[in-house]
Amino acid sequence: MSGPGQVTTHGATRDDAQRASDCDLLRLIALRDEGAMAELYRRYGRIVFGQILLVVGERTLAEEILQDTMLAVWRGADSYRGESVVLSWVIAIARRRTRDRMRGRRLRVVDETFAGEQASPDPGPELVALDRAELAEVTAAIRLLAPAHREVLGLALGTGLSLPEVADVLEIPVGTVKSRLAAARNALDRVLTEKGLNR
């Protein structure tokens, strides 16, 4: 945190130079440069894996999806058009691979029930549980959230993507990202309260 009351994201920090470098990496990967592939993984592998694991909740499955994702990057690097930052492009691939893997299971990566939830323009409700929760309680509660809530929280708070980039990954408007985030955080507070995780 850089100051009181500020919320920052601590995922990958990307500046213009690094974005260009990421693009260069993809160009090299398209030319079958294994070193470039390794470098891309070094930069983003953990974030992508963490996001997948956050959504699917099963480590073995997350590892398989990560493998699928990186293979898709290797095969499809030449399809990258530079219309999004590389990290969001990779995460979008991971999301599609997750959806493919989860097809037929109960898990739904995108839950449309959140479409009706609107973010309030005012400061949020009295999220008492969240106000006094400890870190371990929060992580335990996040694991109990619906996949779509875990997904949007992970993307917005854990990857370093901006909200428009999150919207790009989720293929929804930015406003919907905001409302989904607000719903996710309210759900987090409810879980903390209902499960007594912070008592």
Binding site: Q6, R32, E34, M37, G45, W74, L127, L135, A141
Partner: protein, 302 residues
């Protein structure tokens, strides 16, 4: 402009001057920011704090050198379509294994492919020279390979002097135990996390070295148990992540890395093992996976 800050304002890093000014005068928004901060802390703990995928290691005990293609990758899909993925740090773990072979006859034209790690090559022979950060290895002058190292190159050295053992170092110790004292046959400095390993004298002890004397030390295990260890001239001291300066010229050496167009090797690992006839079976083709594999193979050879 009295509108409260929205999520976008609060999640933007750095917070804008406008948002900062608003936060200074809006207790409700500061509370809101703190809640997001709490949620972000939990998410980051789960994402950034996610441990590296666990390496599943198999040790192939010392013995006859295996030839051919080594183990088959677990799935044909990977074998046929994703060879390059196998070189990724961590991605290849558990999905393939690779064999690194040492011993006579493994060098062909200076470099030999490491089975299971696409693009990875190995060479072995006598360490002829250390030229700055370049290691020159070869069975004979005509077969010498220049292996360039970097800060990320894993250097593992066996056969170090007892004096290289230092207080505070993490270590794995194997040897027979008698009357509560472990007679060290093998001390691996810097070894951590290797599991599922057995030696002829049972599982090795792991801990931190303290109370070092000329004839031994105390190994403080993670649960606080203190184990007396004696060393002798027969104790083999190995260091994981050693310095280049600890490599011994004239000793048998293996170099593993990526071949450059000029015929040199960009080394990811340099190894001076305790024995020539060792097969390292790794899962993952990264320096860290090799450190684990080397540790376990060294122990198996003790």
């Amino acid at each position: 402009m009295n509108a409260h800050l929205d999520i976008d304002d609060l999640l933007t890093d750095p917070v804008s001057e406008r948002a900062r000014a608003h936060l200074d005068g809006c207790a409700g928004c500061r509370t809101e920011a703190a809640r997001w901060e709490t949620a972000a802390g939990g998410v980051l703990e789960l994402i950034a704090g996610t441990p590296e995928p666990e390496l599943e290691l198999d040790v192939v005990p010392a013995g006859p050198v295996r030839g051919g293609t080594g183990r088959r990758p677990r799935t044909a899909f990977i074998a046929t379509a994703a060879a390059a993925v196998l070189v990724l740090g961590g991605v290849g773990y558990g999905l393939s294994s690779a064999l690194i072979r040492s011993g006579p006859g493994t060098v062909t034209a200076g470099l030999t492919a490491v089975s299971g790690c696409a693009g990875l090559e190995q060479t072995d022979g006598t360490l002829a020279q250390l030229d700055g950060t370049t290691v020159i290895v070869g069975a004979s002058p005509g077969q010498q390979v220049r292996a360039a190292t970097s800060a990320r190159t894993s250097v593992n050295v066996s056969g170090l002097p007892i004096s290289d053992i230092t207080d505070g170092a993490s270590a794995m110790v194997a040897g027979p135990e008698s009357n509560g004292t472990l007679q060290a046959k093998m001390v691996i400095l810097g070894a951590t996390g290797a599991r599922r390993i057995n030696t002829p004298d049972g599982p090795p002890a792991q801990g931190t070295i303290s109370d070092l004397t000329g004839t031994g030390f105390t190994l403080v295990e993670p649960d606080g148990t203190q184990l007396a260890v004696t060393t002798s001239s027969d104790t083999n001291v190995t260091m994981i992540n050693a310095g280049l300066g600890q490599l011994r010229t004239g000793a048998y050496t293996m170099a593993i890395g990526y071949a450059r167009p000029d015929g040199t090797l960009a080394a990811i690992a340099i190894l001076q093992p305790p024995s020539r006839n060792v097969v390292f079976s790794i899962r993952g083709c990264t320096p860290s996976s090799m450190d684990h594999a080397f540790t376990m193979a060294f122990m198996a050879a003790s």
